[in-house]
């Protein structure tokens, strides 16, 4: 499959500084329309930090982020989310004491319109809107395969279902781009295999581009159309899975880490 030339997101020359630490150093990165691209790299490489720049949580010290033809570098996170960038978290951050469907309805907040007065008075329009939101939420939950837990509190779901719920919640934002931060963390190989199919299904059925941060190489290699490698904040390689597999710098970055870990023992 060839990548589309049309970009949904284009981040250029992004740098992020934490005190003396340059967590992301002059990284340019784009996401083609309806693609599945991955960001990999050793621990502490700056992947999550880069995510946080895209979603508006951190403001980069350098560089700018374009979403379509709109600059989003300085937009607040909720704005960025509402115009179509949705994410999941490396360590699950669901609203634990809300039900699965409520979690999704929170994500629909920016698409719903009812205000204080219409909510108190339960106007017909408000009721219709709520009902439609609930139906959409259930439909998305069915889509990710946890429809039967719709009215269960998020914290009561199993770990794997919580991961699914995070994806479902992000989808409820009707995003153009879905950012997944280590979605298979804690899954066994079999579950990870299922996940690969799931990613493709999401992309095709929901019409989104997917950016994946992932440590599991078998997942990365089988799901990605393009892979970008970060190491100590710098982009050291970018290309198709085959290119990355045989890239010398990438091997060094990973093996170097393994070697230093070996010495540490």
């Amino acid at each position: 499959m060839t990548l589309s030339n049309e970009l949904v997101l284009d981040a250029t020359n992004i740098s992020v500084q934490f005190g003396g630490l340059l967590a992301v150093n002059d990284v340019s990165f784009n996401i083609p329309k309806k693609s599945v691209v991955s960001l990999i790299g050793p621990n502490g490489a700056g992947k999550t930090t880069f995510f946080n720049v895209l979603t508006g949580l951190y403001k980069p010290s350098e560089g700018k982020v374009m979403f379509g033809d709109r600059e989003i570098t300085d937009l607040p996170p909720h704005k960025i989310a509402s115009i179509g960038l949705a994410r999941t978290f490396q360590n699950i951050r669901l609203f634990g004491l809300m039900t699965a469907e409520e979690n999704l309805m929170v994500a629909m907040h920016s698409h719903l319109k009812s205000g204080i007065a219409s909510t108190i008075l339960r106007t017909p329009r408000q009721r219709k809107e709520e009902k439609e939101a609930l139906d959409t939420a259930r439909e998305i939950l069915d889509f990710v395969g946890i429809g039967k837990w719709a009215s269960e509190y998020a914290r009561n779901l199993s770990y794997g279902d919580q991961r699914r719920l995070e994806v479902a919640r992000a989808l409820a934002l009707k995003p153009e781009i879905l950012l997944l931060d280590e979605p298979t963390a804690g899954m066994n190989p079999q579950e990870s295999g299922v996940f690969v199919d799931f990613v493709h299904r999401v992309r095709d059925a929901r019409d989104v581009a997917i950016l994946l941060i992932e440590h599991d190489m078998s997942v990365v290699m089988s799901v990605s159309e393009r892979i970008t490698v970060l190491d100590r904040g710098e982009k050291i390689a970018e290309g198709s899975p085959e290119e990355i597999r045989s890239n010398q710098r990438v091997i060094e970055a990973y093996l170097g880490k393994a070697a230093s870990e070996g010495r540490g023992k």
Binding site: H78, S82, F95, G96, E102, H109, S110, S114, G115, I120
Partner: protein, 398 residues
């Protein structure tokens, strides 16, 4: 067999009671109390011991005062219980509501004369606006101040927010306290306060300061309206956003919830209740006195919310009623009984805050979810029991 039945009973007891049931219970209790005040107390044939008992332990004025606390605590519950923001200066809204009543329902502004649907004689000087409209005005003024104070402060992290609201709660009453001469303008009549407010027009009869029974109905109605507003909002778009912010602010903003606006909304809605409570309180004591709006009221209200159960309107009603009653009646009455029994002279009411401090500490230690917990919170705070109950339910469904 017996154990199974017992377990079943236990499980049934854990089912949260529906809002409808609670609402009916609330109305039933209110109806009984109204009957007692309106018909039983004035009745000649009422045995004296019963009359004395009621006057000592449940005097109508203290019940009405407790209802004012209920109204305000319900408002604070929206801020603290729903949105999870700590507000230590809630008394400011109570004061603003109180002065709204003072300004618009009395002869205080003699220099002006305006009558708006009021039942007082048109010859009276001053601003006289219908009580029901003043409720709206007081609520609106408080909402305005809620936004003004909230806009710059809600950006702050919650600890700082608590400090700023604390300052706000000190400043507003101080302004009224010293507001006798602001460039020659008498805003608040200073320490003397504003006395003699207009009666509450009801269409049938005007309710003066001593119409406890009828005013009880008015206050019960106001509290019921606050409950209704709370529950409706809670189950809608805004209520979900509040809860999400309480759960995980960062995740909420990443899901498109505008933090500032949403917090501000909770602050403003909470402020409206404070204003309505303030207006009600002013008509209850038939005046507005700056020294009554002190810091301890903010803490007092917070204690009511915590005791009753943050986020659960019925718990908050109970918590507010209990603490307000203990404060105004319970302790003094207990003191009188105790002292006359044992010939001592212990000043029971002076132990109020010692007692409340103790209640707060005990609640936080042993029953953090409050007397009637929000059903969600019950889940976390008794994790052990919850796990037992929930896991099998899952298995069955599979």
């Amino acid at each position: 067999m017996a154990t199974r039945a017992a377990r079943k009973a236990k499980k049934a007891a854990k089912q949260p009671v529906s809002h409808r049931t609670w609402a009916l219970g609330y109305l039933a209790v209110a109806a009984v109390m109204f009957a007692v005040y309106q018909y039983a107390l004035p009745w000649e044939g009422l045995p004296l011991p019963i009359y004395d008992f009621l006057q000592l332990w449940l005097p109508p004025s203290s019940v009405n005062e407790a209802l004012v606390y209920v109204i305000c605590a319900l408002g604070l519950n929206i801020v603290v219980g729903y949105a999870g923001l700590l507000d230590l200066g809630y008394v400011a809204f109570w004061a603003i509501g109180g002065y709204s009543a003072g300004w618009f329902m009395s002869n205080f502004f003699e220099q002006w004369k305006f009558h708006g649907l009021s039942s007082v004689a048109t010859t009276e000087p001053g601003l006289h606006i219908n009580f029901w409209l003043v409720l709206v005005i007081g609520g609106a003024v408080c909402a305005f101040f809620g936004v003004v104070i909230g806009a710059p402060t809600l950006r702050l992290k919650s600890d700082y927010l608590a400090l700023v609201t604390l300052g706000f709660g000190e400043i507003i009453p101080q302004i009224f306290f010293n507001g006798e001469n602001i460039n020659g303008f008498n805003l608040s009549n200073g320490t003397k306060g504003i006395t003699r407010l207009d009666p509450i027009p009801t269409g049938v009869k005007d309710l003066g300061p001593f119409d406890f029974g009828s005013k009880f109905v008015v206050f019960v109605l106001l509290a019921a309206i606050m409950v209704f507003i709370s529950l409706q909002l809670r189950r809608g778009r805004l209520g979900r956003a509040w809860l999400a912010i309480r759960e995980d602010e960062l995740a909420a903003s990443m899901m498109g919830v505008p933090l500032m606006r949403t917090k501000l909304a909770s602050y403003a809605v909470g402020a409206v209740a404070g204003g309505i409570g303030g207006v009600a309180f002013a008509t209850h004591v038939d005046g507005v006195y700056a020294e009554r709006f002190n810091f301890s009221i903010s803490i007092f209200l917070l204690a009511m919310v915590v005791l009753g159960g943050m986020g659960n309107v019925w718990g908050v009603i109970l918590g507010a009623f209990i603490l307000a009653w203990v404060n105004s009646t319970g302790l003094p009455a207990l003191g009188d009984t105790f002292n006359s029994q044992f010939g001592t002279e212990v000043d029971f009411p002076s132990f109020t805050f010692l007692l409340f401090g103790l209640v707060l500490i005990l609640m936080i230690l042993f029953k953090r979810e409050g007397l009637i917990p929000e059903s969600r919170l019950r889940l976390v705070l008794h994790e052990g029991d919850a796990d037992e109950e929930l896991k099998p339910a899952h298995e069955e469904e599979k």
